[in-house]
Symmetry: C2
Subunit: 301 residues, 2 copies
Amino acid sequence: METITDIRQMQQWADATRSRGQRIGFVPTMGYLHAGHLNLVRAARSHSDAVVASIFVNPLQFGTNEDLERYPRDVRRDTAMLLDVGTDVLFLPEAAGVYPPGFQTTVTVERVTRGLCGAARPTHFAGVTTIVAKLFHMVKPHVAVFGCKDFQQLVAIRTMVTDLNLDIEIVGAPIVREADGLAMSSRNAYLSATERQAARSLSKALAAAQALVEHGEVDGLRILAAARRVIADESLARLEYATLADPDTLEEVDAVRRPTLLALAAHFGRTRLIDNCILSRESTARTGWRKSPDSQLSTAN
Amino acid sequence: METITDIRQMQQWADATRSRGQRIGFVPTMGYLHAGHLNLVRAARSHSDAVVASIFVNPLQFGTNEDLERYPRDVRRDTAMLLDVGTDVLFLPEAAGVYPPGFQTTVTVERVTRGLCGAARPTHFAGVTTIVAKLFHMVKPHVAVFGCKDFQQLVAIRTMVTDLNLDIEIVGAPIVREADGLAMSSRNAYLSATERQAARSLSKALAAAQALVEHGEVDGLRILAAARRVIADESLARLEYATLADPDTLEEVDAVRRPTLLALAAHFGRTRLIDNCILSRESTARTGWRKSPDSQLSTAN
């Protein structure tokens, strides 16, 4: 595995790889990797000849009172994990080169970034789409893979790619979960033991909603009430939002008549976690959701 | 010369051209071409193996009360001119494909777009940088050429390219002028005969300022006063701004101690025209400015 820190050198590697007729797969990350990230790398490998994974904790996507400073970092462990899963290039750009003095350009995606997490994090998605546009121009991938756990991020990036005519295929990879259902996240490392227990309420709330839908419920208020009740029962959990939305436009919907996004955000102490699934009246196999909490639950895009 | 209207087909042409190891030069235009545009194509040819010129009257960069509807169009004449100057591909994307329903992404460059034309046209440059980012992803050029007449546009695009790490060389081509000094512009077609006479005041104002600087004047107020006086003497001219600025950052300056942008905008009837030059105390040859109004005046970037 080659490690590249220089942006120009990354572009030259991309040009050389492309000129050999090879397809480049790309997995942008903020590091502190877990099994979910490794699945993204595997997905990228299946779509390409050479995989680049980047680690860059992007200051632009953190709000002023958010967790930029304490965001977990362990590049040595990350490097070993990426090597193990068969990454070709680890791209580690430095913040000073990514945002040099004079930097003043923003890529903004409007409607899909307003609701859900965008309501509480008004500058977050502009930070995400700006860094992803930059990384795409640095790495020049044919295909890039993002996790469905950050579903709104995935939709924002898909929209940006379509709107700006970026010639890049965007692949959404299923959520990877711990044995008890908790969606894997680098931020899970913040949780105390009791918060960790309480955080199970997120995936339980999704499961409760999915069970209702499978039994024929279509009314959005009743479905959301069922999800909210699970989280309200957990004294350490503070719900930020529970929302039903169209999975493509992220517009809120009040009924589940077709596959519908159920997205949750909640705080456990100082830690903010998100989770989601695609609710569907049809077979759960189609949405990739499995009922057994001791197996890997997942949502397919 | 090949004509391409489909965005996907344009990208495929770009991929095929790149895979042959050829460099792509690009000249984006809004059509109604003049000698200035043809110079851009010639400059692109000198930097590349295959030249793409696009014609797209971009609705996003026109304000609500601006001249989108009456903007002059003559694709047949443009096609003949581009063929004549040795263009390889004429790219004619259709508005419905460029901005399909659901379009919601904007590329914004902040500081360099606020002053000068940005003060009176607050949405203009976001429209420019957004369409240029899109066209860059459609045409995939190695080098793109823009005219120095739209100097603020050139700086905004350079800044976007740097900030978003687009691997594209941006070349600024000198202003091409009519025999009497008027900078060539598609909008000159709007001018009545008397307005056309009055419009000469723009280049005369630049020449007056440059003459002062060559005689040792450094005070910005006196230099601007000289330029404003020339335009004030023309009863059909209504000055919008006359500004001295750093040519890289477009920050206003109050003295000409190094090569400095003098930018003008003025209205002649319903027609708004702009012009500029780089003022320099050193030899005029260095700035590319020639005093004789019957030869082609130009500013080099």
